[in-house]
């Protein structure tokens, strides 16, 4: 799985045009949701925040995987000209390539690859990109992205 962190809302807004962009958010339900930087709640939070700041956010789609042709399950309305990608870099590049008629704006940054434990709800960074090499071994709470103390992913055995 790919671990991502949310970009700062002010950085996202720098890529948006308040007057001309009609926005649809496309969210991935896989890695980015487990990382805590995506999913229904994050999408709603982002949409309502941007709306309150005067941006025209029309709609949002939550699709199973953004790095596959399943992105075509999202059918933005005719007026939409901008896609906010609530996906990892792989999903975002897929949106850029396959939906090239839209301006695609990313909302997350890849940290690296992660393993996940659905019992302890812990995530561990195994293969960070060089720009985040200090993250190797760091652990986070799944679905929230809150930092954890190291050792959670090895701690609990099934049945314990």
């Amino acid at each position: 799985m790919i671990f991502t962190k949310s970009l700062d809302i002010e950085d996202i807004k720098k890529d948006l045009d308040k007057d001309n962009d009609v926005i649809a958010i496309i969210g991935c339900e896989t890695c980015v949701r487990v990382s805590g930087s995506g999913g229904d709640e994050k999408m709603k939070e982002l949409a309502l925040k941007l709306r309150s700041d005067g941006y025209n956010v029309k709609e949002g789609f939550m699709i199973p995987t953004a790095c596959t042709p399943k992105i075509f399950l999202a059918k933005p309305g005719r007026s939409v000209n901008t896609i906010l990608s609530l996906a990892c870099s792989a999903g975002t590049s897929n949106l850029e390539r396959e939906l090239s008629q839209y301006k695609v704006v990313r909302t997350t940054e890849d940290i690296g690859l992660m393993i996940h434990d659905t019992v302890t709800e812990a995530i561990k960074i195994t293969m960070p990109y060089d720009s985040h090499k200090d993250e190797k071994g760091n652990e986070y709470e799944a679905h929230t992205g809150k930092a954890l103390k190291r050792g959670m992913t090895e701690k609990v055995e099934v049945g314990a």
Binding site: F61, M62, F72, K75, S93, R97, D117, M127, V158
Partner: protein
């Protein structure tokens, strides 16, 4: 999607093991399958090669998501697999380098041999190819939103584009049998599944409970065939071929029974394709039941349709379960046990009240579901589907979106 390629030659792999080793093969069932270095087929191929060269392979184990540590633990501790894992001296996982860490954590007391190199992340494109878009810096490759084809990645990084070639191993000593299917003489490996032999020889037998990645169940009875010398009709998915077997797969009587079974399934619940995610046949979602109903030219069921509407379970953030579209084939229960290693899904109630349920009849979200999609990937109807939703309006209200992958 994580992009991984094969990093070792077959000779290099053999150099790391001895004929005294007892080997367990394990494969992730996600990204590595798309990259051509994992999955049940590749595991079978590697097992055949190693056995032909005199190595002892104890078993093959498919894991729904290899980078989920507790699923690997569950496979290791599974009552049906535990003895193999305990006896094994070597684990060969067909998994990315990320998942490898989970395997090494769980099998810290075993020799784990990795065969892949993970190059970065990428996409499964609409053209059907896999591309690397965001390589790791260590590869020396630049970011490329169009993506690098796997052949290019293999060339640049000195990796292998394909899986091991079976010709590299010694020829397998296989016992073959000759049988007759619908009057044609056919050769097959002794003990092979009759349904698979038929498919390999271009004979299609309808089936709904059989899935090549799961154990045999023989519950849907659609694949019944006639075998000379046997009084009863036999489910071909549970019958293994033998020398001199004479099989009839299609005749008026068999097709009559199949129509009855399909009509009974149609009548069992409200199989309404208008409100089904798998109602539109496309490359990523097509209903196997709908295909069979069309194939047999059935327009309506002669039996009284059960009008009772059961409550769908939309509690999971990624899975939708509609019991009204369930045909009780049991694929999901077997996938949850055998591929996820969880046993979270099973049958509850008895008789006509039988339904599939998670966590002994809890909502999916309250159960032990790991959201690995093993059940969804094998469901032949629209009972278990991926969730696709649209949000809009002032309060960001949710609305279901039906599967339609037209561009």
């Amino acid at each position: 999607m994580i992009i991984s390629l094969r990093a070792v030659s077959y000779e290099d792999l053999k150099a790391q093991i001895s004929t005294d080793d007892k080997i367990m093969l394990l494969s992730c069932n996600t990204c590595v399958v798309a990259c051509g270095v994992g999955g049940m087929q590749k595991m079978t191929s590697l097992a055949n090669m190693l056995e032909a060269d005199g190595y002892k392979v104890l078993g093959k184990d498919l894991v729904s998501i290899g980078c989920t540590t507790n699923l690997i633990q569950r496979h290791r501790d599974d009552i049906k697999k535990r003895h193999n894992y305990e006896e094994a001296t070597v684990i060969i996982p067909l998994i990315c380098e990320n998942g490898l860490e989970a395997v090494q954590t769980v099998f810290h007391d075993k020799k784990v041999i990795s065969i892949t190199k993970t190059a970065g992340v990428g996409n499964f494109t609409s053209m059907g190819s896999i591309v690397l878009t965001h390589p790791f810096e260590s590869t020396g490759m630049e970011l490329n939103s169009e993506g690098y084809e796997l052949s290019e990645v293999a060339e640049k990084l000195g990796l292998y584009e394909d899986f091991f070639d079976e010709d590299e191993a010694a020829e397998r000593e296989t016992a073959y049998v000759t049988l007759t299917i619908d009057g044609e003489e056919v050769t097959a490996e002794r003990g092979q599944n009759l349904l698979q032999v038929c498919e390999e020889n271009g004979i299609s037998i309808p089936h709904l409970c059989y899935h090549e990645e799961l154990s045999e169940a023989g519950v849907c009875r659609l694949c019944l065939v006639k075998i000379a010398g046997r009084r009863d009709l036999m489910p071909s998915c549970c019958t293994h071929v033998d020398e001199g077997m004479e099989v009839v797969t299609h005749d008026e009587e068999l097709n009559h029974y199949r129509r009855i079974i399909l009509e009974l399934i149609m009548a069992s619940h409200n199989h309404n394709c208008l409100t089904c995610n798998k109602g539109v046949p496309d490359p990523m979602a097509s209903c196997e039941l709908q295909n069979l109903i069309r194939q047999y030219g059935i327009e309506k069921s002669r039996y009284k349709v059960n009008e009772e509407m059961l409550e769908p379970d939309n509690s999971s953030p990624i899975i939708e379960y509609d019991p009204n579209k369930c045909i009780l084939c049991g694929r999901c229960a077997r996938a949850c046990e055998e591929i996820a290693g969880l046993c979270n899904i099973g049958f509850v109630n008895r008789g006509s009240g039988t339904v599939i349920a998670a966590g002994l009849n809890k909502e999916m979200k309250q159960s032990d579901c790991a959201e690995c999609m093993a059940c969804v990937n094998v469901c032949p109807t629209g009972a278990l589907t991926e969730r696709v939703v649209r949000f809009s309006g002032e309060k960001w209200e949710l609305q279901k979106v039906y599967s339609d992958l037209t561009v």
